[in-house]
Symmetry: C2
């Protein structure tokens, strides 16, 4: 039987939430990943050293063993250098949200005034703290990411030593930025390697495929697949796995977020095999991230096997992407 081994898989963009949901989803990521960049958009956001430490403790208490490293992040605000020095050892990045752009982002940045942000971003450059960015404007839904490119350019040019991660990119415009600015990197989700807007509203309306940024056009999907499949050294896997309880996804006014953490590696095997690029999967799901973030996760070996795997209808209260569908790869063992 065909197998695929992945060493130290890393999920460079993960929502673990808190309390009951944290206890439900954290073990699922901890099972198949060595570590993950943990998003700070709790209510209230993770914005102090105490917040970071306490949230990390809650995460560690929710996973069954120590083989999972939560790489913590801070919610972006304008911080002073002294504070950043005090917190630098405890975090792997700072996550910037435009205000109100997605779930629990109300306290984010409302205007991208370089001078207002300069002190914080220069301190981050010096302290080598990467800046992770949710790159969307408040424009028309299909244009929001492309419109944000000028802000990425402004950040990249003004802070050339700042490592900037364009999170969960969804457009050919964002892909094109990777080779334009040395300090721009990107994460790509697995669902954005599979979906276009057709899978959200092209047939029936599919809430479990609804996320922000929304899945875009076929040519955008092609551009994302190109850099992911070649494991472009500036792209990393980041699931943006975002659990919501079933009732919040299937009601009128459904929340944005696709839950993929427990099925991400299986889906990635399927995609990379389909394009005959399994040799590049290790770089996409681990090595590139290690290089970009300068991290060395503990040893973990995941063996996937090519056999039918039916995705569960639920993981606790959460419905995963492709619930009930059968895919071609399954996790065989974790060591």
């Amino acid at each position: 039987m065909k197998t695929q081994t992945i060493l130290m898989p890393l999920d460079m963009h993960l929502h673990l939430r808190d309390t009951v949901m944290l206890e439900n989803v954290a073990p699922l990521s901890a099972y198949s990943f060595s570590g993950a960049i943990i998003m700070p958009n709790l209510v209230p956001p993770v914005a102090t050293l105490e917040d970071v430490k306490a949230y990390k403790e809650r995460i560690m208490a929710s996973v069954p063993n120590d083989y999972f490293e939560p790489y913590m992040t801070l919610f972006y605000k304008n911080y002073d250098k002294k504070f950043l020095e005090s917190v630098a050892d405890e975090i792997s990045a700072i996550k910037l949200y435009p205000a109100g752009i997605t779930t629990n982002s109300e306290g984010g940045v409302s205007s991208f005034d370089i001078e207002e942000m300069r002190k914080t971003l220069e301190a981050m450059s010096e302290l080598e703290i990467p800046l992770c960015v949710h790159g969307e404007t408040d424009g028309f839904v299909m244009d929001r990411e492309a419109e944000f490119m000028s802000i990425y350019e402004m950040l990249a040019v003004n802070f050339p030593k700042l490592k900037i991660i364009m999170e969960h990119i969804t457009t050919k415009e964002a892909v094109a930025m990777l080779d334009k600015y040395e300090n721009l990197h990107a994460t790509i989700t697995v669902h954005h390697l599979l979906l276009t807007l057709d899978d959200v509203v092209g047939g029936m309306m599919m809430p479990h495929n609804f996320c922000k940024p929304i899945a875009k056009r076929p040519e955008d999907l092609d551009a994302l697949l190109t850099v992911a499949l070649e494991a472009h050294p500036k792209v990393m896997f980041g699931s943006d796995s975002a659990p919501h309880p079933q009732h919040a996804k299937e009601s009128c006014g459904c929340a944005a977020g696709v839950f993929t953490a427990p099925i991400a590696l299986q889906l990635l095997c399927e995609i990379f095999e389909q394009y005959d690029k399994l040799d590049n999967l290790q770089s996409f799901v681990s090595d590139n991230a290690q290089n970009i973030y300068g991290i060395c996760p503990e040893f973990k070996e995941i063996v996937l096997e090519k056999r039918a795997f039916t995705i569960p209808e639920h993981y606790g209260s959460v419905v995963p992407m492709y619930a009930g569908q059968t895919i071609n790869w399954a996790i065989e063992s974790v060591e």
Copy 2:
């Protein structure tokens, strides 16, 4: 108090469904409209003289008085001239669906082969039976209508005496066709004069704003508003009001369709007043349709009043667009 009188309003694209749903929604349209073009996409579709007569009888039995004229349509197939002659007096148009493109359209046209369609379309031209078309390809959801323009052009050029109605247009490309071919006309819904894709998936996911064709981009909305507000003589109001039971709209895999019949005139007053074009509303909701279809509805006078009106949460089992929201116009009297 400011009032607006509309004489003989006509809804030139209406779904009344059948049985219990028909009994629920038909009285709502009959209350405020003089008549409506009735879509034939029942299961099975309305495709024989007997079907047309029987469906018309069921509709008339569902409305409380005779002041409502259901202008019947036939589901497009390749029909022979003899049959069309036999049915011509009973129908106002034939509705063409590309196969599988929307609700109950499985028996529609699967390839637009002019030679296969020629006999039917020439007979329709001679008998002066308009062709109503759901103009979407099976391409990417945002491109489906624009891609269909070449088929409209082919039909318009090959059958210059055929009156073709581009139903529920949603794009600037369709608007541009109106002045390009004399025999192309269009209906426009009220929801496509209010919504863009932002209102469907730009914030939360809004199933009650989800329809086919899907609401498009801001520049498309602008183009539709331009021709509607000026009451371009080739455009008519057609609600495409499409009732589904609440559970079918608010579940995972929700059905396409926006229910507006009982609130359409109120919303149109609000839109036309906002742009200071109330003088053109009569043409948009009645006169243009009378001219295009050559119909003379019985007298009916609707007086709307400018006052707060809160849209009901439900009409029977159906949730209308903007349920629970308060708008500025209400129906004051019907005579």
